[in-house]
């Protein structure tokens, strides 16, 4: 078989989990979690965590802003919702849930992708109104990392509940519609020159790509309009469409077209 993206992506997703677990094995490489961490002494922070904590507490820490800017810059360069597709443990769980859902044949419904941006607004408003970074309590990747780091298993029930809803009722509802972190990266996601490119000469309109795409409302119109690239920031850059395409009509572009 030819080159596939998914083994690399799966490795990265598992590496993120391994890094969060690494202090348990006495390794001194990474500390913290995906809300805020430190790799080889370099501070990294989720820009949404920075936004909430600063809005809620009125405490400004320049290093925190710097850490959030590093992460923002990385994902602006890689484009789309790369964080979601390549790093977030919740996305990995949702992908496994999706496999189960396809086997069961349940929950074909989907909700609009616009929800993530609303969630971003609601998250910011809640942080101001309640004076608490509310999303950090509910964040599935925060809950998952605290389960790994401190064996705090009980909050995983929320992650489990999301998975049950996703498998049984609404397909990929957390990542597609509810997650404010996704909403944040969506806003910046269309800037990057790294995009999924599309060769209309090769496309046979078989629709395989739209079957595996987690955000097919972004993929399908681009293909139907014979656009050369998937521009939308909602694209997770997961590369599943490239891997599945029997005609090799899709690929990764590294510059605008």
């Amino acid at each position: 078989m030819s080159f596939k993206w998914w083994p690399i992506r799966r490795t990265l997703q598992l590496l993120a989990i391994a890094l969060i677990a690494s202090p348990l094995f006495g390794l001194n490489i990474f500390h913290g979690n995906l809300a805020a961490g430190e790799i080889f002494g370099i501070g990294l922070a989720d820009p949404l965590a920075f936004m909430q904590a600063t809005l809620a507490s009125h405490v400004f820490v320049a290093e925190f802003l710097g850490a959030a800017l590093i992460i923002t810059a990385v994902y602006v360069v890689s484009g789309g919702r790369t964080f979601c597709g390549w790093v977030c443990p919740m996305y990995l769980l949702a992908e496994l849930g999706e496999k189960l859902r396809l086997r069961l044949g349940t929950g074909e419904r989907t909700f609009s992708l616009n929800g993530t941006r609303w969630a971003l607004v609601i998250t910011a408003v809640l942080a101001v109104l309640t004076g608490v970074p509310v999303f950090e309590i509910l964040s599935p990747f925060g809950i998952a990392s605290r389960a790994i780091m401190f064996r705090a298993w009980l909050p995983l029930l929320l992650v489990f509940a999301i998975l049950v809803v996703e498998v049984c009722v609404v397909r990929r509802v957390w990542c597609r519609t509810l997650c404010p972190v996704g909403g944040f990266y969506t806003l910046l996601g269309s800037i990057s020159p790294i995009r999924i490119g599309f060769s209309k000469e090769r496309c046979t309109m078989c629709g395989e790509c739209s079957r595996v795409c987690p955000v097919e409302e972004v993929l399908v119109p681009s293909l139907a309009d014979k656009k050369l690239q998937i521009v939308s920031g909602d694209c997770t850059r997961c590369g599943d469409c490239i891997d599945i395409c029997p005609e090799n009509a899709l690929g990764v572009d590294i510059w605008y077209k």
């Binding site: 202090p23 500390h31 913290g32 979690n33 809300a35 805020a36 961490g37 430190e38 501070g43 922070a45 989720d46 965590a49 920075f50 909430q52 904590a53 809620a56 507490s57 009125h58 405490v59 400004f60 820490v61 290093e63 925190f64 850490a67 909700f111 609009s112 616009n114 929800g115 609303w118 969630a119 609601i122 809640l126 309640t130 004076g131 608490v132 970074p133 509310v134 950090e136 309590i137 509910l138 925060g142 990392s145 605290r146 780091m149 401190f150 705090a152 009980l154 909050p155 519609t177 509810l178 309109m205 078989c206 629709g207 739209s210 079957r211 399908v220 119109p221 293909l223 139907a224 309009d225």
Partner: protein
């Protein structure tokens, strides 16, 4: 399944329904469920926060629950709170009776805090104010009963500053002294070592929330 452009047209009805009503419904549902859990942590009592912590309300606002302080603590003193803490779930605290704060000179927990919930500029351990130790049960305190216990005093990292021994006449026996441990709240950092060291089954000395200073006519 072939691609049909007709299915991708966004009508006004669909835009309003999917783009606004559905997220709004989720927000209302999510909000109402979460309010059940959104209680202030101090409603449940006092939590001993790591060194350099902001005042409780602002601490909760700034803490993003990353757990780095707990990972930085060499004694595993810092634990993460569970669901009993309401909105404080996943925030760090110290259970002095299990493992107190041993006041590392470099204060690694505060240094590692990314969000400013713990003051990263804190340099001097004597400036830490996590709480204040108080003898909450004078009747059960062995020293106050006239015995030579004084374990809290001897274990105090700020011995003779935060806790001193004040001898006075033992009126009960008439011939002995009571060596009373007295806590000075302007010096006590609230590390909880005294609470941890107390020899009684239930500690008679405990770290509580530092009392607010009240000015009065007797200031001089």
């Amino acid at each position: 399944m072939s691609i049909d452009p007709a299915n991708t047209v966004v009508t006004r009805r669909r835009f309003l329904k999917d783009g606004m009503l559905v997220p709004l419904a989720f927000a209302v549902a999510g909000g109402s469920v979460s309010t059940l859990f959104l209680r202030r942590t101090d409603a449940q009592g006092f939590y001993l926060r790591p060194p350099g912590a902001l005042e409780e309300k602002r601490f909760l606002a700034a803490c993003i629950k990353c757990g780095k302080c707990a990972q930085a603590c060499p004694y595993n003193s810092i634990k993460m709170l569970g669901g009993e803490a309401g909105i404080g779930i996943g925030t760090p605290h110290i259970i002095a009776r299990e493992v107190p704060c041993y006041l590392c000179p470099d204060i690694p927990c505060a240094k590692t805090c990314p969000s400013g919930a713990l003051d990263r500029k804190l340099e001097d351990v004597e400036k830490i104010r996590m709480g204040t130790a108080v003898i909450i049960d004078r009747e059960n305190c062995l020293s106050l009963r006239g015995l030579r216990c004084e374990v809290c005093y001897l274990q105090c990292p700020l011995i003779d500053k935060a806790i001193t021994i004040e001898p006075r006449h033992n009126q009960r026996t008439g011939v002995h002294s009571i060596m009373e441990p007295v806590i000075h709240r302007d010096k006590c950092v609230g590390c909880g070592i005294c609470e941890n060291a107390c020899v009684r089954d239930k500690p008679v000395i405990k770290v509580i929330k530092s009392p607010v200073e009240q000015k009065d006519y007797y200031e001089f």
